[in-house]
């Protein structure tokens, strides 16, 4: 592997930062969910890169990445259900408009 580990980490860092910015600033609930997915993807790149460079034979990082993917899929499924529920009741999915619990 000619590309050094640090470059994979920096790529992952950039995508993580973009995702974090999106999660903090997006108003649309679906947009927030997408930003979270970006962050999970960035974490996965990190895990796989470490797996390849630190323990290439056991592939522990890849196993972690599979778990992260399963959790990402689960979170999107539940997120879809919640968004549909909120949309049905409030006719909006802007996260700052859904303030029923805030008094």
């Amino acid at each position: 592997m000619i590309v050094p580990l640090a470059h994979f980490l920096i790529l992952s860092l950039i995508i993580f930062c973009i995702g974090l910015y999106g999660a903090l600033t997006r108003r649309n609930a679906v947009g927030i969910l997408m930003s979270v997915e970006l962050m999970l993807n960035a974490a996965n790149i990190n895990l796989v890169a470490f797996s390849r460079f630190v323990s290439p034979q056991s592939g522990t990082g890849q196993i972690f990445a599979v778990f992260v993917m399963a959790l990402a899929a689960a979170s999107v499924a539940v997120g879809l259900a919640i968004v549909i529920c909120i949309y049905r009741n409030h006719r909006t999915i802007a996260a700052d408009k859904i303030d029923l619990m805030k008094w």
Partner: protein, 178 residues
């Protein structure tokens, strides 16, 4: 970085370098699309592009199984579900005049920038405990064995989590029968 270009590279190493930086640039542009575009459907397509780019990076890191699973799960399931969400809530997210970002823009930017600065300063200076790969790399067989031996407990737990998420999603999304 400089010592990289002092040594003569073989053609395959050139290919690797060029494809890595090309894919990385594409992924960053797509990620910026996800967080900045007004049209939320275009953002979802950006997410699909990021997922495909990540799959290519996994292929480069000799993780074929993970790369294909990434495409299957992210492009086939996650982005599809998100696109469904966009379609079903079309009216709420439609229209170019709807403001897409909230009032925390400046403060978020500062927070993200400071995190970025901290890590970009630390990552190149840290000495990582890397090993040169000798012998067989981890393949699908290694992963399968590990899932059913050392990691059997997390594996079962993740299955339960998926089942619970499935049931929860159905319960939340269905209409109450009158």
């Amino acid at each position: 970085m400089t010592e990289l270009f002092n040594t003569a590279l073989t053609p395959w190493e050139w290919t690797q370098l060029i494809s890595f930086y090309g894919i990385a640039a594409l992924m960053i542009v797509a990620a910026l699309m996800v967080v900045t575009l007004r049209n939320i459907f275009h953002s979802a397509l950006g997410l699909a592009a990021v997922a495909l780019g990540a799959a290519a990076i996994y292929l480069m890191l000799d993780a074929e199984f993970l790369a294909f699973v990434q495409i299957l799960v992210y492009v086939g399931a996650v982005v599809t579900l998100i696109a469904f969400m966009v379609m079903l809530t079309q009216r709420a997210s439609h229209g170019k005049l709807v403001r897409q970002s909230n009032d925390q823009k400046t403060i978020s930017f500062i927070v993200v920038l400071s995190l970025f600065a901290l890590l970009i300063w630390k990552i190149p200076t840290t000495v990582w405990n890397t090993t040169v790969s000798t012998g067989n790399l981890a393949d699908a067989k290694t992963l399968g064995t590990a899932f059913l031996k050392e990691y059997i407990m997390p594996f079962e737990v993740i299955s339960i989590v998926l089942l619970v998420a499935l049931i929860g999603a159905i319960v939340l999304a269905r209409r109450e029968p009158k």
